[in-house]
Subunit: 354 residues, 2 copies
Amino acid sequence: MEIKKPTLIIDMQKVNNNIDRMQKKIDANITIFRPHFKTHQLKEIGDVFKKKGINRITVSSVSMANYFANLGWNDITIAFPINILEIEDINILAKKINLNILIESVYSISKLSNKIKYPIGIFIKVDTGYNRTGLQKDNPEIDSIIKLSLANCKYSFKGFLAHAGHTYYAKGKSEILNIANKSNKILNELKQKYIDSYPDIIVSYGDTPSCSIADNFEGFDEIRPGNFTYYDVMQYHIGSCSLNEIAVAVACPVVAKHKQRNEIIIYGGAIHLSKEFISADNNFKLYGYVVKFTYNGWGEPIPGAYVSSLSQEHGIIKMPDNYFDDVNIGDILGVLPIHSCLTANLLINDYKLV
Amino acid sequence: MEIKKPTLIIDMQKVNNNIDRMQKKIDANITIFRPHFKTHQLKEIGDVFKKKGINRITVSSVSMANYFANLGWNDITIAFPINILEIEDINILAKKINLNILIESVYSISKLSNKIKYPIGIFIKVDTGYNRTGLQKDNPEIDSIIKLSLANCKYSFKGFLAHAGHTYYAKGKSEILNIANKSNKILNELKQKYIDSYPDIIVSYGDTPSCSIADNFEGFDEIRPGNFTYYDVMQYHIGSCSLNEIAVAVACPVVAKHKQRNEIIIYGGAIHLSKEFISADNNFKLYGYVVKFTYNGWGEPIPGAYVSSLSQEHGIIKMPDNYFDDVNIGDILGVLPIHSCLTANLLINDYKLV
């Protein structure tokens, strides 16, 4: 592997397996699979999905929708509260593809209404407990938004959408499934309330922990996980994946060693890995696990080795005694990222498929 | 200000003032000013320095050295432990500019020795207490590195260099000055030890807290602060700058409001601001202060308003009651970043000078 600076190594076999596993579950549930592309943001990973027959996707910004629309993707949901300042770009997109947007206020849909020029799908963002964005199920704005979307022939009311981001803070499988079940109940209460008037509406749900752990998606008409494509150390800690299923590692040159502290300095810092960390008691911070590369991928994490600190370009690896001398300056070590979405975004121009 | 998505707004008047203030102090000390360009990484900010007569710079990677060398900068120190895998690029640079590199091991300089084709300056990285990189002053490798650098006619031994990154964790002015003084003492002990044999060696020091707070640079032949160009909330908390001196703010569209929680959702997340935060008791995390833009810049931070949480693209602002209703969806709010180096790196293609 000819690597000279921090590079995202993407194990395509693992990506394939991760997608296959998720697709198999979804197919068994006769649910729509609309994967979130914000994790990878890459044409090549999109192509893997495309080859498996997936043609509906989720993105998190208008820019990302543009990128994938230009690559031929023609059914895209922008899963982010609509930014009314980007109406021109939204119109350009809506003209050429099936575009769905998220609405969570009467204010936004009113501001848009006289500016939307092409047919567009409207999902109402519902807050099922994450408390980040979305409307509570009993909020009267839901009814008002539906009425406003009906009043404009360009709008097509598609249903209710939620992201249960609080699964990221859940402890264990049953807590995650509880969140998924609660979200399911809330979304379906709303669906039942409106299905007679709008028989085509659906319920769309997505987050990697729920979708990785649940086997039964009954009640969810569409699911939208994204991170599962790569997974990462955070998902491993949540219980969504095994360490073996993490499909990306950042290749980092070793630039210095400090034996008295058992520390190895890598070229690979916050601008490559992101400052996302997992913390524990006693001020312990984990910025990534450490692996060695093999001829076609990488091995298990080195026991006891971890990235303990990051500066802009430097990473510090705490390396146990018994592995310290095996590593030389000029070697390449791999770092399994804490949050692959942020790491992949930082290395969007520096990646390699293996 | 025509802004549709997260954009780094750079107040050029503040940048100018920040540079002038630092340059004035440095001129009074007859010290070399070699500013670190890793904070801004921009041609336009480089031009401001150039117009003030500054022609020696510091960068943190070979890529960054390449970028600025291509813009005509011809005296560059790469303040990062040399990455021996990039020797080809280093040779290309050394051929066309005055290039200085950092060495902190016999291993690295030995590996380089038969591959260096053009004259290159060697600084020995000294650890003055930060414990990240560099050699302790009494480490015998220092002597060996100097001997090796003397043995190769391509090398020119330039002196001793330190980065006192532990000033970032210091509490108050006197603790920062203590660190600077201690570093000064260590570096000058080394200089005195070798000055008779190498009369041209210098002592190079740099970090924004020290250089902002100290007035007297006696003993430092060169200083290399970088962050002071923009400053940020972290520097404000350390005591390096006032809030008024922070020269960058990220313009973020407001996309949703949640009155029951006094929360405003902005398009502006971890991939725009970085996940750097300042924490306090009770799990409080601060990801940025909030400002409103004026016709030519921005005002004081809104009292009590702050970015409390970041997802990939979303930011959540806690907005006090009395300001909440003044902000509408579609407005642009500014966020003063916690760590401007990371934020500027993320928005390297999305910035605007005002």
